[in-house]
């Protein structure tokens, strides 16, 4: 999660890489409780998240999205 981009930055990177028809959808809020289900988050980092992230963001610390795009056809 620490390496996640903002949605706008993600879309811009795709465009700069050469992708076209970039679409972002399927937004699903991700909470600290949901993050704690993943074994890759240690108990320590979950505690750290609860301590350092404002409480009002605990239910939405990140957003899961689907990003679609296409490689241009050859000219």
């Amino acid at each position: 999660m620490a390496g996640a981009l903002a949605e706008r930055v993600f879309a811009e990177k795709l465009g700069r890489a050469g992708f076209v028809d970039v679409w972002v959808g399927g937004h699903r809020p991700t909470s600290i409780d949901e993050a704690s289900l993943y074994p890759l988050f240690t108990d320590d980092v979950i505690r750290l998240m609860r301590r350092t992230i404002p409480k009002e963001r605990h239910d939405h610390v990140a957003t899961a999205v689907i990003v679609k795009a296409r490689k241009p056809e050859a000219r």
Binding site: A17, T30, I53, R70
Partner: protein, 192 residues
């Protein structure tokens, strides 16, 4: 004190070590949020136990029979197996993962799912994909691009291996605003 992980190789090694050291995935609790009952029924229970994704890229990829699909960061194989079912016997689903143990699990799960003959699991990095140019119709991934410290390089590699007109369907996390620095620099927050 959190270790400073500003160096790209250090981040890559940390992610690889974290994924190589876990003994289970997030399991049914997460899988049931991401996949339909019908999709879960298409998977061996062991694959579902190893669910570590954040979305359902296959559902949004609208795969067609005969297509070649690359699953970047294929883990224990859930999305590769679903893709292999969608592309049928004339298609192929290739799973790419940096962790050898994950590829081993994925091969076993593909065999259990009965799609071994149309799947292939290879080891490698998303920033240096070991496939020829224009060899893939569709690239998918599930909660993986955020793990890369060289995202522009990874996207350039995905573009390279796609055929002209090829498409991507990536499930990933986005974060608006900055995370607290204690988290941004924490090893397990990068891997998670």
């Amino acid at each position: 004190m959190a270790k400073d992980l500003m160096f790209q190789d250090e981040i890559k090694d940390s992610v690889k070590e974290a994924y190589g050291s876990i003994s289970a995935g997030a399991g049914q609790a997460v899988a049931s949020k991401l996949y339909s009952e019908q999709e879960l029924a298409e998977l061996p229970p062991g694959a579902v136990d190893w669910a570590l994704g954040v979305g359902n890229p296959v559902r949004f990829a609208f795969l067609e029979a005969g297509e070649v699909v690359l699953d970047i960061g294929s883990g224990a194989g859930i999305d590769t197996i679903l893709a292999a079912r969608r592309v049928g016997p004339e298609g192929r689903a290739i799973g790419l993962d940096i962790v050898p143990e994950m590829s081993e699990r994925a091969r076993a799960h593909a065999t259990q799912a009965g799609v071994a003959e149309r799947t292939e699991f290879i080891e490698g990095e998303m920033e240096r994909i070991p496939l020829p140019d224009a060899s893939v119709d569709v690239a998918i991934s599930n909660g993986v691009l955020n793990l890369s410290a060289r995202k522009s390089r990874a996207l350039a590699e995905i573009l390279r291996v796609l055929r002209p007109g090829g498409r991507i369907s990536l499930a990933d996390l986005t974060v608006e605003g900055e995370l607290p620095p204690e988290i941004a620099n924490d090893q397990s927050a990068w891997a998670g």
